[in-house]
């Protein structure tokens, strides 16, 4: 009965979504306040119904209701409770339901936090979000229903993929989805502004915190996925340029461009059209990301041949979601043209360069990700694009961008004085060069030129940000002035420093990591980067739903005990799959990473031992970016100004 209740809740949510997409829009058109006001309760009811559906599916997992096809395919009686709850989003259908709950959540958040916005505008935004929900609820209900029954019900489920039975996997998809879905808000704001024919700086200001919120969730999600791949997949890589990763990286790149473009649109009223296109693209790429990962198209484009319904539906949805705003734009274009002039050397130009680099990077990543799929669909044979392509293209695009990250915040809007700027920044730039030169002497011959370029960029960003914060504080009378400086200013610099920290991690680990694959018999030792690993053989251990063989590696440095690492080879009883569980000894400056390979007889095993210097800085940098984003959203400015807008709105109306 409970699964049917979930199905009913989903169907009712569909009905509410129809109301939400039509009534407020009609109200906005006819100036009917009561109709527009429907948007708020409708959003709340839709969210409650979606949450009810989600709860019903969770209940089916908790109660081991294997008569539900989705539960039977993703659970097992021996699966621990926490993984049964997270198995809800372990597959296609359930993850769509999670997507929907989040979309409902964002919609309600917009409804709550936009009380200060003009009534007509809020009604339009919520209606657009309602339409997105409508599309996805229909997709879930008609092509990917998680409540579908299986008859006769099996006695046992086929268990959750062991790879997903991990704490990192518990929060990675929800964070990623929060990011994906969050861009729906920026999209809805842009579409609503187009409907109203008003792409002004107020619209840009409303969009900024929402876009930043989506972006920080996406950043956290991607970083967590990378972290999970690093420690869980057992081969010590942190980014593989795999289509699944690229699918989440594309909206991130465009979203980052959008954040910067929105700043220009708000402050200077420029780049309006471009900003709208970015808002639409960021959401379109989020849709593409969800679609690529969850539809099975990556496994084989021919997956669609077996289930054309889903493909046709998603493609149709995609075309409408992207095409409708473009048509709307073509209609509104004469009204939204911006006439803003700026000098060649100005903040605007640098922001434009930032956008060009980021969007080009996104385009190249997209080419490498989609080209093999297109060729395969056209029957041109199986091709794949290797990571060297992405590295060869991505690195040269990012280096000039990093230089701009340190420079951009110093350059004035509209017209900047290059000579004056040079006088203020030459010392900082010189210190970065000098520090890099010292590094060059110290590491002479051990690293390539690119390493020093990377480290220089990081130093430049950190020093320039530090100087920026220091000078601003001094101008406001030291620490006492802290409260008078907008949080967004600190948020920006913190995020930029996060980029620098990430760059340091990436540069150092790529240049100085040591990876050894060796055969080790009990008693054998191997020295890696000054650490001595002694293999003490293997022993058997048992987990809740797996048996494992555990290797014992004692690590010493200069004769002093460091740690004992116990990498495992797990055999999951139900899925009969072996899985490597790495064992690590993490420290801020390095990570010791070990994994068991295969038995070679006589107690000997192949063992993987990696020395990863500063690898954690990669995720630390991403963490700083997230904190920077949080600070930026908390800026009082966004809340304070909204009331002004309303006042202006009231006068002009």
């Amino acid at each position: 009965m409970i699964p049917e209740l979930g199905n009913l809740a989903l169907a009712l949510a569909l009905a509410v979504a129809v109301v939400l997409s039509v009534v407020p829009l009609a109200g906005a058109l006819r100036g009917n306040h009561a109709w527009m006001a429907v948007a708020h309760p409708a959003s709340v009811v839709m969210l409650l119904l979606l949450m009810l559906a989600y709860a019903c599916l969770s209940w089916a997992f908790v109660a081991h209701d294997f008569s539900v096809l989705y539960v039977a395919g993703n659970s097992h009686t021996e699966l621990p409770l926490v993984y049964r709850l997270t198995a809800v989003w372990g597959g296609h259908e359930g993850s769509l339901l999670l997507w929907l709950v989040m979309l409902g959540g964002w919609t309600v958040a917009v409804s709550v936090f936009s009380r200060a916005l003009p009534e007509v505008f809020t009604a339009r935004v919520l209606a657009v979000l309602g339409m997105v929900s409508l599309g996805f609820i229909a997709f879930t209900l008609f092509t990917s229903n998680p409540f579908e029954r299986l008859f006769p019900a099996p006695m046992q489920g086929t268990d959750l993929n062991p790879l997903l039975q991990d704490p990192g996997m518990i929060i990675h998809p929800p964070l990623l989805y929060m990011g994906y879905v969050g861009f729906a808000v920026a999209y809805a704001l842009a579409v609503a502004a187009l409907i109203g024919g008003r792409l002004d700086s107020a619209w840009a200001r409303w969009s900024r915190p929402w876009t930043t919120a989506a972006w920080l969730f996406l950043t956290a999600g991607i970083a967590l996925g990378s972290w999970w791949a690093y420690y869980e997949l057992g081969w010590g890589g942190w980014w593989f340029w795999d289509p699944v990763e690229n699918a989440s990286f594309l909206p991130w790149l465009v979203g980052t461009a959008l954040i910067h473009s929105l700043a220009v649109t708000e402050k200077r009223g420029a780049f309006k059209i471009w900003t709208v296109l970015l808002a639409i693209s960021a959401f379109a790429l989020s849709l593409l990301g969800t679609f690529l990962v969850r539809s099975g198209v990556l496994t084989s484009v021919h997956a669609f041949a077996t289930d054309p319904e889903r493909g046709a539906f998603l493609l149709g949805f995609f075309v409408i979601a992207v095409g409708a705003p473009l048509l709307l734009y073509a209609w509104r274009a004469p009204r939204v043209r911006s006439v803003v002039s700026f000098e060649l050397f100005s903040r605007e130009t640098l922001m434009l360069a930032n956008n060009v680099f980021l969007v080009t990077a996104a385009a190249t990543v997209m080419l490498g990700t989609l080209y093999p799929l297109i060729m395969d669909a056209l029957g041109q044979g199986r091709i794949s694009v290797g990571p060297p392509y992405f590295e060869a293209v991505f690195v040269p695009l990012m280096l000039p961008l990093l230089l701009l990250v340190g420079l951009g915040p110093w350059v004035a809007w509209k017209r900047a004085d290059a000579a004056a700027l040079a006088r203020r920044l030459w010392l900082t730039f010189g210190v970065a060069v000098a520090l890099c030169a010292i590094l060059l002497l110290w590491l002479w011959g051990q690293a390539g030129l690119l390493v020093f370029v990377g480290l220089f960029m990081a130093l430049w960003i950190v020093l320039s940000s530090a100087q920026g914060v220091f000078e601003r504080l001094r101008r406001h009378g030291g620490l006492a002035g802290l409260r008078r400086i907008p949080a967004g200013f600190f948020g920006m610099h913190l995020a930029h420093v996060g980029v620098a920290v990430l760059v340091v991690g990436v540069t150092v680990v790529s240049a100085f990591e040591i990876e050894r694959h060796v055969r080790m018999a009990p008693g054998d030792t191997l020295e890696v980067a000054g650490y001595e690993f002694r293999f003490g053989g293997v022993r058997e251990v048992a987990g809740p739903n797996f048996d494992a063989i555990e290797g014992v590696l004692r690590v010493e440095r200069n004769g002093r005990y460091v740690t004992t690492l116990t990498p495992q080879k797990r055999y999951y009883r139900v899925q009969r799959e072996p899985m490597t569980q790495a064992s690590r000894h993490p420290r801020p400056w390095r990570d010791l990473f070990t994994a068991l390979g295969e038995p070679l007889g006589d107690g000997a095993w192949t063992v993987r031992i990696h020395f990863k210097p500063m690898v954690h800085w990669i995720w630390g940098g991403a963490g700083l970016m997230v904190l920077g984003g949080l600070l930026a959203i908390s800026d009082r400015r966004y809340r304070a100004r909204r009331r002004d807008d309303r006042a202006i709105e009231g006068k002009s109306a």
């Binding site: 597959g91 077996t306 060649l344 434009l352 060297p388 392509y389 060869a392 899925q575």
Partner: protein, 170 residues
């Protein structure tokens, strides 16, 4: 020229040059890093390039895995039913590497006709067969019946992040 127009011209030039350089870089890198897939039959027929990286896939032949006693070197035969090719690999094989299992190996074919893999991929599902391998087997007319069914129904069965597992050589 009007200063406003001159600025705009600079702006446009800047973008055109930037995008031009990026496109040139991209296309070069793209061409150099396209990895084609060849089946053992195609390799046997001499269709695969020599000393250029490509991907080869098939089933690991039963009892063909040979291991060096004192190193991590492994070699095994890869077949599509019609022909087979011997693959050498130095490193740790993925968890799901097993005899009879469909795998994809990335590497180069030497002048001596031996395939040296730099990476071996096996998918995280014991019933799963890499699509390339399934196609190669079908082309050779050696698709096992139950696998055929699996391949057709596999589309949506388990889509999880990072389905591939791999081993890298030093």
């Amino acid at each position: 020229m009007h200063p406003q127009r001159k600025r705009r011209l600079y702006g446009v030039l800047f973008i055109v040059i930037g995008v031009g350089i990026a496109t040139a870089l991209t296309m070069t890198a793209f061409r150099e890093n396209l990895l084609f897939f060849f089946s053992p039959s195609q390799i046997a027929a001499g269709e695969a390039p020599v000393e250029r990286t490509f991907r080869a896939g098939g089933l690991v032949v039963e009892d063909s895995v040979r291991r060096e006693q004192d190193s991590t070197e492994v070699s095994f035969e890869l077949t599509d039913g019609a022909h087979s090719v011997r693959v050498f690999y130095d490193g740790i094989l993925p968890d799901l590497f097993r005899e009879g299992q469909g795998i994809v190996a990335m590497g180069q074919l030497g002048q001596d006709g031996v395939f040296r893999a730099s990476q071996v991929l096996a998918k995280h599902d014991e019933n799963y067969m890499p699509p390339e391998v399934a196609e190669a087997l079908k082309a050779a007319g050696k698709m096992p019946q139950h696998e055929m069914k699996q391949y057709q129904t596999d589309g949506y069965s388990r889509e999880n992040d990072s389905d591939y597992e791999s081993g890298y050589r030093q």
